[in-house]
Amino acid sequence: MTATTPAGTSSGTTTPTSTDPSGTRTGRGAPGSVGPSHTGSAATRVLGLLALAAVGLLVLYGLVISPADREMADSVRIMYVHVPSATYLYVGCFITSLASGLWLWKRTPGWDALGETGAEVALVFSFVTLLTGSLWGRPTWGTYWVWDARLTSTAVLTALLIGYLALRRLDLDPDARSTRAAVLGLLLVPNVLVVNRSVEWWRSIHQDSTLVKLDPTIEGDMLVALMVGFLALGLVFTWLMVHRFRVAWLEQQADRVDLDAALRERRAEAKGQVAPPAAPDRFDTSDPSGPDVDEKVTPA
């Protein structure tokens, strides 16, 4: 899964929840100099390898070492994927809400990118959760869909995430889109809590006794297998988050780059009749409030 390009590069690390990445830019390398042409880095390669190793361990434990369950026989093995992915689904939603809140407060584009990242990775994990949940339901209760509290709220959560990502994909102007997405993102966690609470209550009334509780009592190798499940999916989650964050970060940079060309074009349009002022080069369009970081022309 990791990018195994040979380009040896100095190790630069970006934690997925990097703060204020849009601050002042450091060195000003010549634009277009050939750097690594992908979102991989030494850190993600290490992370990727670790994730693969953990998945290998999970396969070993989940399918081989851990015993079958007394009642559910081997179908319990699905739990080792289902439960962790449900957990990381909620982690992704939490990151999105947190990032949205911080974007509304601090307006640095890094948070906006993190909000989008959290939601998309959470959506992938929600599909995994729904898939494994229904595949688990089939052998255990004979139906693909069980109106079990957790599964139902996951389905509603998936709809919320799809709505959020749909709003982000509309081509508004960047600032308006980020603001609206941030408000929606901030509401994600409260929505999830209310949905869970109401679905939990709803199902607890109709919980007929025959339903085997989803979490059978687990200990010994089965518990280890579940823990390995959490480890493996956790590493995979982090790896996906880091790469998706960088993709979002690149998308933002790409937006800005065309802008400077547009500025030069706009000036040329003036048919020379109007003297263009001293041509300031790069400027940061993303924080309209604060004074511009690259201000070359000192205000009169």
Binding site: L172, D173, P174, D255, D258, L259, A262, L263, R266, R267, A268, E269, A270, K271, Q273, V274, A275, P276, P277, A278, P280, F283, T285, P288, S289, P291, D292, E295, V297, P299, A300
Partner: protein
Amino acid sequence: MEPAVHLRDAVALLGRFPALAGIDLDVRRGEIVLLRGPNGAGKTTVLRVCAGLVPVVRGVATVLGHDLRRDVRPVRRRVGLLGHATGLFDDLTVADNVTFWGRAYRAGDADIAAALDLVGLSTRLRDVPVARLSAGQRRRTSLACLLARRPELWLLDEPHAGLDHDARDLLDGLARQAVDQGATVVMSSHELERAEALADRVVELDGGMAGQTLHEVPHVA
């Protein structure tokens, strides 16, 4: 008395398009300035920037003494924008519209009634839903909304468009009257001969940048 509008190398964006690419513009208090220039030169954007509706991402932008880059809210309370869009509710009557917007701008009922009289809508058309009005009458209604709040800075975006002859005289008269009471007017227009008659100064605009002042209209004492 600081200038009504002071823009120095101001850049403003519409989405990703730099509508204003470093504009310099100064308007003194009590002046009527006409912005002239081809379509897409940024005339409307200048007016919307002065109204605090479009953020300035670079350069200096001060209106009525307030720095737009720090906080636009104080400016918004003191300007009146008359644009292509009338901002009226089609289902409501003329009186309802002007009353709502008047109150929204904290204008007193007296000012609202006076505004309706000034634009000649206080009698026959008063209770006609805006949907059934002609374009010119709609513009008079939104002009009434502007009058009701007695702004210090009038920002008129092609105000003469769609107005009949006496409506234009009415507008020019009201603008002149407001200036005499200390207001300032910045407007853009394509009816050049009429607009230049009204304006004290004409500024050529192109490519989102302001050029030199074309000519000072000798101020008829």
